[in-house]
Symmetry: D2
Subunit: 305 residues, 4 copies
């Protein structure tokens, strides 16, 4: 399978960057997108072919990748559970091929797709990614792949064309599970940093001073080193907008509630990101949770005093 | 003041290590401790002199350092507010000298001591530290010093004898404030990691696998890289026991409540560390908050399944 | 429709009591239950007939009532979405008849059933109840009915045979929505009372003294007046066991998360009831959340000191 | 002590109403107030005498009552710990007399005052009240008295002149403790009701409909029956303004943190009332926490849809 043909589904902010990197690595590429014009425009400018349906895309590719925003849309496109009935990936010629879902999705959805595709002799991997559109553009994603390890080995060069680090993490669904856990930790860290920033301002320590000091100690982390800039520059143009945090945390909450584990900090974080969205910051970067905190604390983060 | 004499108050797990490093750097050292035998034994074995009271210690030293566990004890020893009335540091000959409180303390207590000492012509710095006893022993502390900057410059070599990194962070009280904020962020991160670990176990991902993956991504942080070992090794011998987390978070809560800022995540974390202590883990390392979570989630962190 | 025939689905702890009261009011009754022996034994001892399937039950009844534990089971039995395909209520002769779902269910599920049944000319009401098995047995339920008001008027005598108070609350789905909100408030009140009881014990005020005083003031409420007895008598035989609280709060959380509203207190309550269940109290009455709190506070609720 | 002379300290919104009722019951009354003009104007219009200092007031009264807003002010006026040094109640002729603190105060402060006053042969009761200014005006307060029971019996007629219900609740400090616990429960109930109202609105159930239904069920309580009116009438004129809730919950948090018990729901409630205050509702009635929730949920409580 050294020069396999790749089919890519979902050319949003993430998917379009990932598809470009696949092309750049020399894989023949066909694309499909719900809004088909997006697929045509991508294909025209980048040099890919377009399929009319996921079914057609699947039939003419060796490996099919999906990168979509909602679990039910992914299931529809892969399994034909809704509008795509009869036109889905599973309806194409896919025996012996590989489907890779790289969306952030429900682990049980991954297992359901693996099982359904397995029924027609097709392999499935879930391989969600860490990193936003800018990271995707510069091939810097971390990819958490799971499923059959032999299958993983076969598609590794393809995954490597999109990410800096490709980790094999276990049985099918594990990638999704781990992705959700990493997200959970990250969003809580972000909320916690926002809480500290507002309290600091209230106590007379500016966000800049606090952050500089944190980054001079072991407490420093991804949020204080990279996301903090949004606060410090008072620049809220989104790398990821509020809906990303809310969507992620809802998905985590669903999965966790299903197995019945307490998620005290994660639930608070979800509600605070949700409130931030409703307070008028839906188009802001996720870091705008600091603006919610500043309002709740009655403090101006940019006061000179 | 190139070869000033140092007086050290408080020879607990932290203080004794710091005092040793001061001696190792060649400063003449006198010590005092509430339980005076501890001071005598330290002095005998390490080569320091002993004072009978904080007052006497202050009189014969150029720089006086306090490293104590409770705000009110520090105030008593420095200002003689309770049992030390008449025998406190402020009762000694201290005009022109420098008192440095390196305990984790209330910012307003720092300002109160600065003001009282200033009234008798003595300088005051607050200079709390990041790092536990083992870090202290190998001179690895990060020191957050605040107060008059000229005074800071004068005692810098002394502070450097105890820590790897010495930061000047602003007006008196700022060191304490920043220390509390760093702690707040760190304890919430620790609680969040514990939450993720228990949820992961519930979802079939072992703590070891989850942690290895986290540490392979940008989400990694001090907790996942260093504190996680306690969970992974199932070894709960305390670097810092539960009371440290609870004490820290209570102090933060006091300060934050006083200025009226929301501390949603921090309050939950404080209550969870408190509950961990009450569930029979008071002698365990702070990371045992993961054991609380495992019980609340009904999952064994070390299950082979 | 003065002497309509009633079909009852679901003879669990709640349903069996409700069905008995329908019989006692003189309505001809047919029953169906997943475990069909339960239906036979009920029919034999109480004087009802048994149907082999929901479809058959629906065909021979004028009004069909469902009282089941899980939303998906209700949908299956009514609409045949899973195992009951072809044997569900909707597959019977039901034109012009009325289906009433009295389970605690998802509002959108109620609307979905109303729409599907409406498509074949059948009416639908959702009419969830307040009160447990003992309240049901003595006809003391409060019933929150919603849907077409004319239909409601027609079945009112039937509803009154099961409850002390029957409220018409609005369009279809409103009954379910209101039920969830009442539950949400009630479970948080219960958790709050448990929190107060443990804190009181820690401060030297026994649960009995605290509760007596509360019940002498305006602060008294259903929990302090009726549920408190479980704590005071140290008698944890369940009126409703922990799974009831957890199931209710999960359903609420699902509905609330879907519309994106913060539910800070409700999320904490859900997690605490979940933790109580995992700490070994799954067979205890819901009020055992006070035992979780007593452990987290390190205090014996029955100490004599 | 049948016709004892009463000295009243603190003529705020609560105290002035209580003092009027004492006068109306026929007790000779002297008053003192920090802002002495308030005392003069009260005395002139109502027929009481004025004392220049708490000391003088205490000397000429048999029973001294304090009704003040902050623990430290009460201690100052009774024990002379700050500005009132030498002019406090304890400095008067008070052997064999009774001091009653009716403020909402710290239990340990009550015990401290009892001990100090006991040292000079004076009795002390803590007797905080349930109810606001309007309740106080119509003699409707519930009084939670604690201390020596014989002393309580002697002053019972005086307490009865101010309240509808006077409860003896135990040893000194118990009144304060119980008051804090009742408050804790009540504030959490209020926050929970606000949470339900906002979620209800989001789900299409108006606050009015939800509240009417609740009040038709066992879930009804003081908040849904009496405080709900503020929301339903969109009338935020304070019976008690936000600072009352915040002050109460801070005091509770202090006491609870000191003994180390988890207060998860109470901490969230405190932070939400605090946030409501900072969002511009500080002059609104406490029930305005529902406005915070409506903003966090992005829903208009008064929408017609």
């Amino acid at each position: 399978m050294s020069s396999y043909k790749v089919g890519f589904i979902g050319l949003g902010r993430m998917g379009s960057r990932m598809a470009e990197n696949i092309l750049a690595a020399g894989f023949p590429l066909a694309v499909w997108n719900r809004t088909i014009e997006k697929a045509r425009s991508f294909a025209d400018s980048k040099g890919a072919s377009v399929a009319d349906t996921p079914k057609e895309l699947a039939s003419k590719s060796d490996v099919i990748i999906s990168m979509l925003t909602e679990p039910w849309i992914t299931e529809d496109v892969i399994l034909g559970t809704h509008e795509m009935k009869g036109k889905a990936v599973i309806d194409g010629f896919i025996r012996g091929k590989v489907v890779i879902d790289m969306s952030t999705n429900h682990p049980s959805s991954a297992r359901k797709m693996a099982s359904a595709l397995g029924g027609v002799g097709c392999h499935f991997l879930d391989a969600p990614v860490m990193g936003g559109p800018f990271v995707a553009a510069r091939k810097g994603l971390t990819i958490l792949a799971s499923g059959d390890e032999d299958v993983f080995e076969k598609v590794l060069p393809l995954l490597q064309s999109m990410g800096q680090k490709v980790l094999y993490v276990g049985d099918v669904g594990t990638g999704m599970t781990v992705k959700l856990l990493l997200n959970l930790h990250l969003w809580v860290m972000m909320a916690s940093y926002a809480e500290c920033v507002a309290i600091g301002a209230k106590l007379g320590v500016t966000p800049r001073k606090l952050t500089e000091i944190i980054n001079n100690t072991v407490v420093k982390n991804y949020v204080t080193e990279f996301k903090a800039g949004k606060i410090l520059e008072n620049d809220w143009k989104p790398d990821a907008d509020m809906s990303v945090a809310v969507k992620d945390l809802r998905l985590v909450a669903d999965v966790v509630q299903e197995v019945g584990a307490p998620m005290l900090l994660g639930s608070i974080a979800r509600d605070l990101f949700t409130a931030t969205m409703h307070l008028g910051f839906s188009d802001y970067d996720v870091m705008a949770i600091a603006l919610l905190y500043s309002r709740m604390a009655g403090v101006d983060l940019y006061s000179k005093t």
